[in-house]
């Protein structure tokens, strides 16, 4: 589904990704953990080309999307992204946030988009907030709308960049619950997170990233209970 090969990315002189390779198989949930500043967000953003890479390849469904001839907008329609700070459109209602891209980009009919949005709002438990503007929503509600908005494009894979890091603790659960449902439905997901409980329970594979490289990866049981690398051990001893 996603295959990243030897990707390097620098901002000026700062090398953020130093030859990262990884993959996400169809229906797999991969969690990425690691200290802040280690390049986790940059890796996700390179996967949908919000950042251009200096070298290496990003393959999605077997297509090298770093190639200039690729229509990146078409690719992004299949790759949903959920941001740490939600990035809902403040001038649109909850419902309009969800229907905007499907009607304008996929050109599906307003009625169908509306139906799709209502179904998704039901799924994330926010049907009663359909006509509310984002500033009236709590953080957890905003993030659930953001997830619904991404799902409305019917993506093949979802990227989550610390979706619960900006939330008050009591709202973390409701968002993780939605993500868990999504995983159980078989969505392919790559999740950057500090929620070790989620990574352990929902993740099929966990990658530990530090200083621009993937230091260690494996099943949650392997990585959390029996880490091999000293850097992994040091990080886990701090967060667990």
């Amino acid at each position: 589904m996603i295959r990243v090969e030897n990707v390097c990315k620098s901002f000026g002189l700062l090398e953020v990704l130093k030859g990262v390779s990884c993959y996400v198989a169809p229906r797999e949930v991969v969690c990425v953990i690691g200290p802040s500043g280690s390049g986790k967000s940059t890796l996700l953003r390179c996967i949908n080309q919000l950042e251009t890479v200096q070298s290496g390849d990003v393959m999605i469904n077997g297509m090298d999307i770093t190639h200039p001839s690729i229509d990146i907008n078409k690719i992004r329609q299949q790759v949903g992204m959920v941001f740490q700070l939600f990035n809902l459109f403040p001038h649109k209602t909850t419902l309009e946030n969800i229907t905007l891209a499907p009607t304008k980009i996929l050109k599906i009919s307003p009625a169908e988009a509306h139906q799709r949005a209502v179904t998704l709002l039901g799924k994330v438990g926010l049907l009663d907030k359909a006509d509310v503007y984002p500033h009236k929503l709590s953080g957890g509600q905003k993030q659930r709308v953001a997830i619904a908005r991404a799902l409305a494009m019917q993506p093949k894979v979802m990227l989550f960049d610390e979706p619960t890091s900006a939330l008050d603790p009591e709202m973390v659960g409701e968002v993780l619950e939605v993500m868990k449902d999504l995983a159980h439905e078989g969505m392919t997901m790559m999740v950057v997170t500090h929620e070790m409980g989620f990574a352990r329970e929902v993740g099929h594979r966990v990658m530990f990233m530090d200083e621009g490289v993937i230091v260690e990866e494996g099943t949650p049981a392997h990585l959390f209970d029996n880490p091999q690398n000293p850097r992994t051990k040091a990080f886990l001893s701090k967060v667990l």
């Binding site: 907008n73 905007l100 304008k104 980009i105």
Partner: protein, 236 residues
């Protein structure tokens, strides 16, 4: 003796103020002033309307550094028209440039000069307004599969316009005052009409006082409209 006392008690001034002549000058020419004010308004409205089109185009170009020609051309345009006096621009255009394009009237020439000038300031307003919108909004749009233009149109501009309206109204007010400069090329707007009446009557206080008040009323009304818009946008 009477001279002295009247000086001491300020009778001279009072006498002058009671002088019916100045008042008559104003009332006799009031309809002409009103027509001048309309010309001023028309000039301002046209300049800001064209200025908005120019400003949107050049402001957007200023945000597209990858489109090198457009980016640099826009920078040059903005720098030139903000970096030289409007007065000089009006003269240059009317006497120096437009004669090469045939007989273009003073009014049209004034509209072009003011539009170009306004466009440069509005381009900066547009650029700042768009840059005030959180970067994450563009990224959210792009990550849903929108191209740059779609995200700009559906997401950024509908938010930026709220940021842009207050400074735009300020620009409108500034332009309204600055159109007085086109009196130099003979556009018969408010200030030129003042000049003509003053020259034939020699009542500077009455004439320029009246002209000032008319300008003030127009800018005040615009400012009040601006405050109203700002309040409305804030509650939206």
């Amino acid at each position: 003796m009477t001279q002295l006392t009247s000086c001491i008690f300020g009778f001279n001034i009072v006498e002058k103020m009671m002088d019916i002549h100045g008042f008559e000058v104003v009332t006799n020419n009031f309809s002409s002033f009103m027509v001048g004010a309309l010309v001023t308004l028309e000039l301002t409205a046209l300049a800001v309307a064209f200025g908005m089109i120019l400003g949107l185009v050049f402001g957007l170009l200023r945000l597209a550094p990858n489109f090198k020609i457009g980016y640099h051309l826009s920078g040059l345009y903005i720098d030139f028209f903000r970096g030289t006096p409007l007065f000089v621009q009006i003269l240059l255009l009317y006497f120096g440039v437009l004669p090469f394009f045939g007989d273009i009237g003073a009014f049209t020439s004034a509209v072009i000069a003011c539009s170009l000038n306004s466009g440069a300031y509005i381009a900066e307003i547009v650029r700042a307004g768009i840059q005030a919108i959180d970067q994450g909004q563009m990224e959210a749009g792009r990550s849903l599969g929108m191209n740059q233009r779609q995200a700009m149109w559906y997401i950024i501009l509908p938010q930026a316009y709220k940021v842009v309206i207050p400074p735009l109204i300020n620009e409108f007010i500034a332009m309204l005052k600055d159109t007085s400069l086109v009196s130099i090329i003979g556009v018969s707007e408010l200030t030129l009409r003042g000049k003509l009446v003053y020259a034939s009557t020699y009542e500077p206080a009455w004439v320029w006082g009246t002209i000032a008040i008319i300008y003030f009323i127009m800018t005040k009304l615009l400012a009040m409209f601006g405050d109203y818009m700002e309040r409305r946008l804030a509650t939206e």
